[in-house]
Every structure is written in structure tokens, then in C-alpha cells.
Amino acid sequence: MSELVIEAESLSKKYEGKDILREVSFSIDKGEIFGLIGPSGSGKSTLIRLLDLLEMPAGGKLSILGTDALASRSRYDLRNRMALLNQKPVIFNRSVYDNIALGMKYRKKSNQEIKDSVHDVLEVIGLDDYGNRMARTLSGGEAQRVALARSIVTKPEILFLDEPTANLDPHSTKKIEELVQKINREYNTTIVLSTHDMLQGQKLATRIGVILDGKILQIGTTNEIFHKPATTNIAMFVGVENIFSGTITGNKKGEVTIDIRGMIIQAVADFTEGYKVGVLFRAEDVTIHLEEISKTSARNIFKGKIKSLIPTGPFVNVVIDCGQDINALITISSAEELGLSFGKQVWISIKATAVHVISDSKI
């Protein structure tokens, strides 16, 4: 049976009369990596500071490790069982060793215990020989690893990571991500990770909470969040490119047909005829064909002309005018193989199960 380590109920926070967090409720299991994703300014950092008991909420309940975290007598003890890593590495004007040892010194651990633990974590972060170096001489990525080591040396039960790689280069980002997974795996540390990078959330988190404008709008597995976003705002944030509004024109045992301004699309949903809905599907779920296809399990096949081809990294975003503009994402080599070019006529197919339908109240 899973053990809850964080239970938040209707947490709210205001700064100068402005709502920063509104009615935030969720729970996190022991050993979980919980991703908090949302754009900058959505309230992620504030929520992390509330959870690490560095700030008090304006209202709501918070239980951490089975204790009422908002009772003043328990806050100091609870804080000692948690740790925080900030976006910008905070480095003290001391040696790497002294930086890492700081939390243990606050806990009045013996010199031998500090020495052993610091050497252990230096090994974990791959900076074994850096103990005597002045920490301010390190690169950004190394500094963040030292800050991470300082957070884990006290063996926290919960580790909060607030945009830990936002300022780092891809190589350092990869290192930190590997360390986060290693810490979670080896120490069974519960990790709360805030990020605006949805791919990082997808890569690391077991569950994700989407926070927009101070509210957690959806909590689910990465698959649920990315393929079945609860609102169009979430869909846009998690990179769903095809978002339309339409009307249900029929429902046969859960297979609905939807009219999107003349384009009829089939999906799996429970809405009844006449219902206004939002229709969402990801660009990578759209397949491009050069000829009309008959043998396919996909229910939705449309003819259209290529309107634009925009290279994005190893992929190409192809916009096809099928009455409505549909975005498809394919690899550059596939695009070359198919000989795609502006104005070319193509067919596209989308599986009915890949189309996510939401109530129009959530559009």
C-alpha cells in the first residue's frame, strides 16, 4: 500500500492582495517523482516554498510525513527532513567541501560523519577531487551539482527541485537529470520537481500536476497529461498543436462524429448529439500519405494541400490545409522520403482513439 508523504488541501497564497495560489489540492506518494509543470509565473516556485515550509499559506491544510506541517512546533523538525534545490545554484564563498557540509554542520553532526557523507556524495555527483576547490570557481553545471550534493547529503526524505536545470546547458542538464533519477532510485527519496520544460517532466516524473495561473488544473500520468489534457489551456501548454471546437453530430456506442466547421472527424467519447466540444490531437498522431489509402485502421482520412513545412530540430512540422489547418510532425528523413513540398497534395490519417474530446466548458 502506498504511503502518502504530502497531502495538500485547498492551499492558497497571496502577495500584496494578488492570488498567487488558489485552492491547490493534491497528494504525493512516498518514492514518487512528482512533476509540477507550468509556465513561468504560474506559482510553481511559491508552491515549492510552501511545501518546504519556507513560507506560510494564506489558507488551506498541509500534512507532510504524516504531521500537520502548518503547526509552528513541527515546522523546524519537518524542514530538517526535507531539502530544496533552486533554479540558480546558491554557492557560498567557501570550499566545495564546506558548501556540501553546511546542512550537516547545522545538525551538529560529528566531523567524521560529515567527512564520510561529503565524500560519499562527491562521488555520487562525480566531483570526487573537487572537495578543496573554492566553490565559486566552478562552472554553472558543476555548481548546480554541488548544490544538489548539499541537498542530499542530509539524506532528506523529500527533495524539492525548483527548475533545477533552467539555467544549464544540455550536457549539464542531462547530468542533473541522471542524478535525480539515481537519487530517487537508490535512496527512495520522494522528489517534487518543478519545471516549465514539459519534456523534462515527461522524462523524469511518475505523475505530473499542471499548474496554470496559480491553480493545479490536472494531475495524471505523463501519458494522460500529454494525450488527454483536461482543458485547451493545458493542451496548448503541453504542446498539442491541433485544437478545434466542434459539435457532436452522432454517437454510436461511444464512437462520436464531430462537425468541425464542415470537417467531420470521428473520436471515442461519451458526449451526446448536439453537444459543443473541444477536439484535441497531437501532431505526432497525424500520419501523412502520398496516395489515398483504404487499408488502415484509422477512421479519419482527409485530403489536403501542404501549406507550410517548418523544421524543428530533427523533425518537420507540416501544416496541411484540409478545410481546417492540421499540424503533423514527422522526421526530416520521412519528409525527404515522401518528397513533401509546399502545395503538394497529400492524404492524412488520424486514429479515432488519438482524438481527445473535451466538454466545451473546458475550451
Binding site: 518546504d52 526535507m82 546558491v90 564563498n93 547545522y106 570557481t137
Partner: protein, 243 residues
């Protein structure tokens, strides 16, 4: 006049080289009083500045403004106020500190404490807000937090202490009013310090002694400045090199 200055200068060098007892007595008393006042001010002002920085309370901004205003407190005014307090008829007259080195230490503390308090607050305010958050998050108690942050700005605070010493040793108004510029004899140290002695000797036309004391005062200032630079260069060096 030019020849008087030249001969005064030569005599001054002679007084210093021969370790003239009067010059030595005045110099040592000056150092003793100013070092004591600076040390005691630092002992009180660094914790005071830290507490003001660390806590949020009504009137904090006003207090900081007042402390900063006192940077420019005229030394004679500080002397006058303390004189009224320490004179026989004053509320602290029973302490018998008027015209004593202890009274002068107190007077200099009034001048130095605002400097060290204010610069401690400024130095700590310059600490990144995230650092304060991380220190608390790492499990520091309030006292541990303050010590950690002070350590981070130790060179700025040390510079404030040295600046405070500079103000203490160079001020003349309060030392004259509270000390009375009494000449020391035999075992009695008197209250004559470098600045008050220079003032007196100049008015009496004894330029040689005044110039000798002036050179020493300037020498102390050079040493203080040299020390300050050394400390700051050391901090920069230590921050950016690996050991």
C-alpha cells in the same frame, strides 16, 4: 614661514626617530582608545545590524534611515551630548567618566556604532534572497542563519570596522570635549590624543610636535588603508583561486 615648516618637519622626524616619550605616550593612548572603541562598537553593532536585517518589524525603514543619518553626526555634537550626560549634574555623572579615556571610548563608540551597524545591514541586504532561503531550508536555526550570512559578507563588514576605526582615530571634537586634552604625566595617561594634541600644539605655535603627530596620524591612516586593501585583495584572491 616656509623655513619654519621645514625646520618643524625636520624636528618632527627627529622626535619620531628618537621615540620621544611625549609623542609615544600620545600615540599609544590614541591607538588604545580608538582600537577599544572600534572593537566594542563592532561587538555590539554587528549583532545589532544583523538583528535589524533579519527581522521584519514596524518602523524598520525609519530605524535604518536614522542609523544612516548618524553616519554624518558631527563629532562636536556627539561630544556635547555626551558631556551633558556625563557631567556632574548630568544623569550619568555618577559614573565619573568625564575627562577619562573611558569617557572618550564611549564618545567614539557613539560615532562608530552607526557606521558599523549601517554597513552590516547594507552588506547583509546585498546577500542574494535565495541564499537566505537556502540557509533556512538547510535546517539552520536563526543564530546559525545569521552567522552563515555574516560569514558570506565578512569582508564588507571588516571594511566597515576599519572605516569605523578611521573615524575614531581621526575625530577631534568629541575627544576634546569629553577628554579635555589633559597632558599625561608619569603613570597618569592623561587624555591627550593625536588629534587634540595637534590642535593644541598648532594653536601654541609648536609646529614641530604638531607635524610629528600629524605624520604619525597620517601613517596610521595609511596603514589602515593598506590593511583594508590587503583584506579585500585577499578575499578576491581566495574566491577565485583553487587551493
Amino acid at each position: 614661514m616656509v623655513s619654519e615648516i621645514a625646520s618643524g618637519f625636520l624636528q618632527a622626524i627627529n622626535l619620531i626617530i628618537t621615540l620621544n616619550p611625549e609623542v609615544m605616550r600620545i600615540t599609544l593612548l590614541s591607538l588604545e582608545i580608538s582600537l577599544s572603541s572600534t572593537f566594542l562598537s563592532a561587538l555590539l553593532s554587528i549583532p545589532l545590524g544583523s538583528l535589524i536585517y533579519y527581522h521584519e518589524f514596524f518602523g524598520k525603514r525609519f530605524i535604518i534611515n536614522m542609523v544612516q543619518t548618524l553616519y554624518a553626526l558631527p563629532t562636536v555634537l556627539a561630544g556635547l551630548l555626551l558631556f551633558l550626560l556625563l557631567s556632574n549634574a548630568g544623569p550619568l555623572g555618577f559614573l565619573g567618566l568625564l575627562f577619562t579615556p573611558q569617557g572618550m571610548i564611549l564618545a567614539q563608540m557613539i560615532l562608530v556604532m552607526p557606521l558599523i551597524t549601517g554597513f552590516t545591514i547594507s552588506a547583509l541586504s546585498g546577500v542574494d534572497r535565495d541564499m537566505k532561503i537556502i540557509v533556512i531550508s538547510l535546517g539552520a536555526t536563526k543564530v546559525q542563519s545569521i552567522f552563515t550570512l555574516i560569514r558570506e559578507v565578512r569582508f564588507a563588514i571588516l571594511a566597515a570596522v576599519i572605516l569605523g576605526f578611521g573615524r575614531a582615530i581621526s575625530e577631534v571634537g568629541a575627544a576634546m570635549i569629553i577628554g579635555g586634552n589633559i597632558r599625561g604625566v608619569l603613570n597618569y595617561s592623561g587624555t591627550r590624543v593625536l588629534t587634540t594634541a595637534i590642535s593644541l600644539e598648532t594653536s601654541q605655535g609648536d609646529f614641530a610636535l604638531a607635524i610629528a603627530l600629524g605624520i604619525i596620524l597620517l601613517g596610521v591612516a595609511v596603514l589602515v588603508n593598506f590593511g583594508l586593501n590587503l583584506v579585500q585583495e585577499g578575499s578576491v584572491w581566495k574566491s577565485y583561486t583553487s587551493s
